[in-house]
Symmetry: C2
Subunit: 258 residues, 2 copies
């Protein structure tokens, strides 16, 4: 069933019925591209992770829908994973946004680290962010996410580390070498599903040992992802896949009945 | 230390010393790009997963090296994972080859499935294969692999399924819907590290239910990767990350000492 993202503020309660009006590109997509007609159903997801099954009452430039029922999204992970990713050159950050969205990230925070070669002016960044937010929205729709991850404003390394350290599972992905020793990822995963996870990933070339020491000093856990060297855009997907494998799929939810 | 891939057949034994001569692009890279000089050391990896620490005796158009010692590669996974990937349009197969190499695949087999929209002539394919093998070689070098995964000739779905079913852990990634029910990935992973793993991934749009039934009939296990819909190029990396998390990192090997 087609899925669209809405704001919970746009739901209108009237005589015991909940209605919502879709406009702009979503309405055009429903009416023209999908050629949906009154009586057909679609799924609307709000920013709180609630999914609404809705019936189209009228289509066209505006699409009026009535909500039939609602339930918490079943495709959102049981943890809130925030990806802190060093700004990368070219299309690498695009890839991270797309893959992190597919793999269940709740939020993506660009980080300016000292080895990071990308310097953006606020105006450049506003453009970039709009682009990344659009990539996240598309990937969320395509992968059946219950919400669109937010792409945040860029944060300085020291501030990002302090924020990330507050997570139940604050993972600082580090290749090692000088600086603090790492612990293999599975050993850092607690028995019980953590409520919040931070996945901190460095730029191409890795973090400086001093940055790793600062992160560990702030309370982050230095995580080892193995002996192969992962590209900067592969590290967060690796950790997000591991989280899904360990906390989301282990159980009955990953399978389906015929 | 710079890493180069060699064939074990090129090692020459003479008076108790093992020598190897590098030519062509590798020799040019060592002599010109890296400006390495006699006395400096590099790492050579052969197709069996052995790493040789070697000293340069003479550089130039040919680089003559003496082997100092050898050991099994420490960056190869403890299992042989073969990725069977439906041929995909555009650059998606490139991405799969690159990421599967980074994440430890031993071999990548292109599969022609019935929903697969890519039809290649043998001549087209030979060109593509050369390109993919080059991507694999670059990714292997960059990620510190002990060997270059082989990109195989394309195989028809029915033949690929029969071959893949022979693996200790024959995973058929299936989104479900009609056809056989799936089992969540972690439930399919045995306690003991499997020697051989097959990771079978469908095209955009998934496998036909009849294909899934054929695979299960041949002995493959229908694996559920969760409720979010992964793109075709994300599925194999997801499974390879899960394998690394479960069988390679769980233990001491994923961490490093300061």
């Amino acid at each position: 069933m087609p899925r669209f993202f809405v704001s919970s503020a746009d739901l209108e309660e009237e005589n015991g019925t909940t209605r919502i009006v879709l406009e702009g590109p979503d309405a055009a997509h429903i009416s023209r591209a999908l050629r949906m007609k009154p009586g057909e159903e679609l799924v609307l997801c709000d920013e709180r992770g609630t999914e609404y099954r809705a019936r189209i009452e009228s289509a066209g430039g505006q699409v009026v829908c009535t909500v039939l029922d609602s339930a918490p999204s079943e495709t959102e992970p049981p943890y809130e994973a925030v990806v802190y990713q060093a700004l990368a050159k070219g299309e690498r950050f695009d890839t991270v946004v797309m893959k992190a969205t597919e793999l269940g990230a709740a939020r993506i925070v660009p980080v300016a680290s000292s080895r990071c070669t990308v310097k953006l002016s606020p105006a450049d960044y506003a453009k970039k962010r709009e682009r990344w937010q659009k990539i996240a929205a598309e990937a969320a729709g395509q992968s059946g996410r219950g919400r669109i991850p937010e792409v945040a404003d860029p944060v300085r390394f020291s501030d990002a580390v302090k924020e990330a350290a507050k997570a139940d599972l604050p993972l600082f992905c580090y290749e090692g070498g000088e600086g603090p020793g790492t612990v293999p990822l599975p050993e850092l995963f607690p028995e019980k599903t953590p409520k919040t996870v931070a996945v901190f990933v460095g730029p191409e070339g890795g973090f400086e040992p001093s940055e790793a020491r600062e992160a560990v000093g702030a309370g982050m856990r230095p995580a080892g992802l193995g002996k192969r060297i992962l590209r900067t855009e592969t590290a967060a997907p690796f950790v997000l896949a591991s989280l899904a494998f360990r906390y989301e799929l282990a159980g009955k939810d990953g399978g389906n009945e015929p």
